[in-house]
Amino acid sequence: MWDYTDKVREHFWNPRNVGEVENPDGIGQVGSLACGDALRLTFKLDENKRIKEAKFKSFGCASAIAAASVLTEMVVGLTIEQAEKITNQDIAAALGGLPEQKMHCSVLGEQVLEKAIACYRGRPAGAKEEKMICECFSVTDREIEKAVRENR
């Protein structure tokens, strides 16, 4: 099993920026094939095209919650180009490290950010994308079930 750093605990117990940004400029949602969890990120830019606000929702373990929480803090004030450079290693480092078995939870963070940025670049965000995002997750969900079946 694993033991968490104080930073992970702190973010898990007092997660920052839980919820959804209103009228987001970017939306991303991912599911983890490894453990079957889901993470959703929404963000909004200010007039200088810097991230003004970011929020998350998570159906995941303590690491996933902490990773998302710290990510929403890390991206604020960054340009899209800067935010894009954030890797899961950066996220884990910001948490003082993650147990090896939980590194993939920080990968969720990196992926969700990628998705949200792609969404921002691809088309203006809106209610439609939100629906599509969910459909997309159910695809992932099916993939998970397939993976589980194959692993039996």
Partner: protein, 390 residues
């Protein structure tokens, strides 16, 4: 903060009487039980009286009882011991989909060596169908292993009936009784059991002491080879203090079991009813009636188990979960999956297992604390909002 321990299925706190017995033995009976001198004689006396006591508890005779170093070792010894000794006669074992890893893993190991294993399907409540067992047994079958009570969902299996089928077909029958031993009655003769595993730390005894009941006449290859202890079936200097503690734990169980099973079942049912009522989209896992007196296992949709567990821990309440995120393999509980549960629901499963010291006040506290935690986590969950909106 007064902490509330509701993880007695994982392990129990040794009873004060057990600690006392261990302590006394450490101080006074420290000889090696294999030694010829009086220190050895005294140690042997402690072990043999423990053996008689524990054998009597399950209606075995004392030469059918072997002490081991853990429940896992008992299971490994039973499975590998029968396979190595009967390999000439057949290469097939029947078990169920919801056994503990300490049964599945030795079987997987033996499968790499050519053993064939049939995993019986369990119904959604976790029970196996005796008819399925009848169909699964072939001329090649050398052993059937079905657990008495499941450690995750608490479901009890129809051991006596399964044992009778095996007896009739001339196949050895093993049961992993690690969750039931000391909690509900066991009679190895009446229940047609050939081999049975138990582990002391699940009944307020010490960790690191297990037992294997082997019906007289059953031949098997040892797992630990070495000295002549335990009639050559299990070499190693015996853990006299641990065995003395196990024996004391069994004495306590013998005197309290019936009363405790009643008391804990009542608290269990109260907790289940209250949570089903207070938390929307919650379900009970395992059999509604035929379950361990101390086991509550519930799923809360769209909530991740580890997050719920850690939130409860913050409130001083210790529970377990079958979530994939907490297993080192990142797979959801094979037990919940085998009972037909979706990935999503098994993710949000919590097991609360009561014990001898669990009080009604503690249960009330859980009933108060758990629902808001679930609500808080659902508010964070990207899945729940959607469902709520439906």
């Amino acid at each position: 903060m007064n902490r509330i321990y509701l993880d007695n299925a994982a392990t129990t706190q040794a009873a004060p009487e057990v600690i006392e017995a261990i302590q006394t033995c450490f101080r006074e009976t420290y000889g090696n039980p294999s030694s010829l001198h009086s220190f050895g004689l005294e140690a042997r006396g402690v072990i043999e009286s423990a053996r008689r006591n524990i054998a009597g508890f399950i209606n075995a005779s004392s030469d059918e009882l072997f002490f081991t170093g853990s429940g896992t070792e008992s299971n490994n010894t039973a499975i590998k011991g029968i396979v190595y000794s009967l390999r000439g006669k057949g290469d097939h074992i029947v078990t169920t989909a919801i056994e503990h890893h300490a049964i599945h893993e030795p079987l997987h190991f033996l499968e790499t060596q050519g053993l064939k294993v049939t995993y019986l399907r369990n119904d959604d409540n976790g029970q196996v169908d005796p008819d399925d067992l009848k169909k699964a047994i072939t001329g090649e079958t050398i052993l059937v292993s079905v657990m008495h009570g499941n450690n995750e969902i608490g479901t009890l299996e129809p051991i006596k009936e399964l044992g009778a089928i095996c007896r009739e077909r001339g196949v050895y029958f093993h049961t992993d009784a690690i969750q039931t031993f000391g909690h509900i009655p066991i009679d190895v003769r009446e229940m047609n059991i050939d081999l049975l595993s138990a582990s002391a730390h699940k009944l307020y005894g010490p960790k690191g002491v297990g037992l294997l009941y082997i019906r007289k006449g059953v031949q098997m290859t040892p797992l630990l080879h070495g000295g002549g202890q335990e009639k050559r079936l299990r070499a190693s200097t015996q853990d006299t203090p641990g065995i003395a503690g196990f024996s004391r734990a069994v004495e306590l169980a013998a005197s309290e079991m019936e009363k405790e099973a009643g008391r804990q079942s009542r608290l269990r049912d109260k907790l289940i009813a209250a949570l089903l009522e207070a938390v929307p989209e919650s379900t009970l896992n395992g059999h509604p009636k035929l379950r361990l007196p101390n086991n509550v296992n519930m799923s809360f949709a769209c909530v991740e188990g580890e997050a719920a567990l850690l939130n409860l821990d913050m409130e001083g309440i210790a529970v377990a979960t079958g979530s994939a995120c907490t297993s080192t393999s990142l797979e959801p509980s094979h037990v919940l999956t085998a009972c037909g549960m979706t990935h999503e629901l098994s993710h949000g499963s919590l097991r609360l297992s009561l014990g001898r010291t669990t009080t009604e006040e503690e249960i009330d506290q859980v009933i108060k604390v758990l629902p808001p935690i679930i609500a808080k986590l659902r508010a964070m969950s990207p899945l729940y909002k959607k469902q709520g909106a439906k």
